[in-house]
């Protein structure tokens, strides 16, 4: 079942310098897609267009069958949550509890339900012991987990992670990634916007963006092995895949495998 339909979407801040050009993208319910691209490829703009923070110059966006317009933007925001890049700049509440409550207060959820949901989703992101803590006492990863809880509590169908791990340390990044996986297993549609090749290993499908255009939209393993596309978008193929490629292309015997691995371990 389709949950997001983007047709011929274009956007620019200044006429003549398009940020996104003729984007057509379909996302199925429960899918995990990775939007891969370098800085300035327009990937964050895409997420802002999806929730109506920016208005498209051309094309249509449908979320759950509902076309995005001035009248539907608030209904669409109830379906999509975004975890942004900077953990500090999306923490609205004075405490963890207040921050998870923020979205619920906006949706006018009754107070009793609110309290239940805060408990429930704080436990889910493993932040239940921190409910009364203030943001400056939390690590970046913990703040991102609170942001996730805030969105989960609003019970959206789709969560966009807009470079949500790029400001975290490896440990924080891994917890957020495993959380994405858990959520996706439970049926949440995940859109992960990133420039990190390792992150794109997870997920069903990769959409590669370059200069505002989709240059590849295919299954994860197909994209990760596609040397041409990766080079085109200035991304580096993962080391093991590179090894594999070399082995395949050279039709190597055992001894050669070793020497190649030696070389790779020295350079990579």
């Amino acid at each position: 079942m389709r949950i997001i339909d983007i047709e011929n979407l274009s956007f620019h801040y200044r006429a003549g310098t398009p940020v996104l050009e003729d984007i057509t993208l379909h996302v199925d319910k429960g899918e995990w897609i990775t939007i891969l691209g370098h800085n300035g490829s327009g990937k964050s703009t895409l997420s802002k267009l999806l929730v109506g923070l920016l208005r498209a110059k051309k094309g249509t966006i449908k979320v759950g069958g509902l076309e995005l317009s001035e009248n539907t933007v608030y209904d669409i925001r109830k379906k999509i949550g975004i975890v942004f890049q900077n953990p500090d700049n999306q923490f609205v509440g004075v405490t963890v509890r207040d921050d998870i409550a923020f979205g619920l207060e906006n949706l006018q959820i009754p107070r009793d339900t609110m309290i239940e949901r805060i408990e429930q989703y704080a436990r889910k992101v493993d932040m239940a012991d921190y409910l009364n803590k203030e943001p400056h006492n939390l690590s970046g990863g913990q703040k991102q987990r609170v942001a996730i809880a805030g969105i989960l509590a609003m019970e959206t169908d789709i969560i966009i992670f807009d470079e949500a791990t790029s400001m975290l340390d490896p440990k924080g990044r891994n917890t957020i990634l495993s959380m994405m996986k858990q959520l996706n297993d439970e049926g949440v549609t995940v859109i992960n916007i990133t420039h990190d090749m390792k992150e794109s290993l997870y997920g069903d499908r990769i959409v590669v963006l370059k200069n505002g255009k989709i240059i590849k939209d295919d299954k994860t393993d197909a994209v990760l092995k596609d040397q041409e596309i990766l080079e085109k978008s200035n991304l580096e193929m993962l080391l093991p895949l590179r090894v594999l490629r070399l082995l395949e292309s050279e039709n190597v015997k055992d001894e050669k495998v070793r020497s190649y691995l030696w070389q790779l371990s020295l350079t990579g």
Binding site: K48, V51, L53, Y74, R77, K78, I80, G81, I82, F84, N86, D88, N89, Q90, F91, V92, G93, V94, R97, D98, A101, F102, G103, L104, E105, N106, L107, Q108, I109, P110, R111, M114, I115, I118, E134, P135, H136, N137, G150, I151, M154
Partner: protein, 321 residues
């Protein structure tokens, strides 16, 4: 930077901590009004007695109250001295003749210079300052060293003492009361209480919820911005800016080198925060439900009735007398 305390709230026990912030704000207004209305000594002494009793019953940290009053000391002293010197109404209480002679002026100058040099090393700076001030007047009034080239008189009138006393007491009472409020109420609760107390202003199209939202976001971002300022200062220091030394002109340049990045970062932050808030369905001016609810208890009703009684009692005493 990990343990920044915003406001002066210190967790504690006692009924004042458990009270609804709305009660505290309204009672504060009543009691402050009472302090202004009181015009006779007995009532003022009773009021101060009640205030001290409140400090003890409410188990307020007295030292913190005093530290709240300290910055007020100079203001109080000056008000009182000004009244003494320039209020000329009522009966004459005391009168001195001031003897301005070269030797007297020399003696006074010596006193002032001594004070100037030792003041940094003294405890109770404030009392020494007042003592020096009184000393200057006392020297002029009592010393008769050599012939005077001019004389003056210092007259102290009844009204000067009374008015001075009342101004000082009123200010003390008001500051103590508001210190009690800030000491016993969390900034977030205070904000919530203010919003609720101000809500009748909605009649005049003042959007109290948004004001409360602004205050609460400011409170939330103070530690973040302090952290940021610290980082920028370190970054600038590593480029050779010395924040601790330099002439006035250099100091301004140092502050500019801190403020410009702070402003740019803050604007960027606000933009991102606004996006994050909107993405989470925040619409300015739309009704929202609230996680935090203020609960009105029996103690609150009592406190409000008592403070209202104090106000009426003060008004009647003024009318009767």
């Amino acid at each position: 930077m990990k343990n920044i305390v915003i406001g002066r709230f210190v967790p504690g026990k006692g009924f004042l901590y458990r009270m609804d912030p709305r009660t505290k704000i309204i009672a504060l207004v009543f009691l402050m009004a009472s302090a202004f209305i009181i015009r006779d000594f007995t009532t003022m002494f009773v009021a101060v007695g009640l205030l001290v009793a409140l400090l003890f019953v409410g188990r307020i940290n007295i030292i913190r109250v005093f530290s709240g009053l300290r910055p007020l000391m100079y203001l109080l002293a000056f008000t009182f001295i000004f009244q003494l010197l320039f209020n000329t109404q009522g009966d004459l209480v005391a009168s001195w003749e001031l003897h301005y002679s070269p030797l007297n002026i020399l003696a006074v100058t010596m006193l002032v210079v001594t004070w100037f040099f030792v003041r940094r090393r003294l405890p109770f700076k404030f009392f020494f300052f007042i003592a020096t001030f009184v000393g200057v007047i006392a020297l002029f009034a009592t010393l008769r060293l050599g012939p005077a080239f001019a004389t003056g008189t210092l007259n102290i009138h009844q009204n000067a003492i009374e008015t001075g006393f009342f101004i000082v007491m009123r200010l003390l009472v008001i500051v103590t009361l508001s210190t009690i409020l800030t000491l016993t109420t969390k900034p977030t609760d205070l904000n919530l209480g203010l919003e609720s107390v101000m809500s009748p202003l909605k009649v005049f199209r003042i959007r109290t919820e948004e004001m409360a939202m602004i205050i609460s976001i400011s409170l939330r971002y103070i530690p973040t911005l302090l952290d940021e300022a610290n980082k920028i200062m370190l970054a600038q220091a590593s480029r050779g800016v010395d924040f601790s030394e330099g002439k006035f002109k250099d100091k301004i340049m140092q502050i500019v080198s801190l403020l410009v990045p702070m402003f740019i970062i803050s604007f960027k932050r606000s933009d991102e925060l606004a996006n994050a808030m909107e993405a989470r369905s925040f619409v300015p001016g739309q009704p929202r439900t609230r996680l935090h609810q203020l609960t009105w208890g029996f103690a609150d009703t009592v406190a409000l009735v008592v403070s209202l009684l104090v106000l009426t009692a003060v008004i009647t005493s003024r009318v009767v007398m």
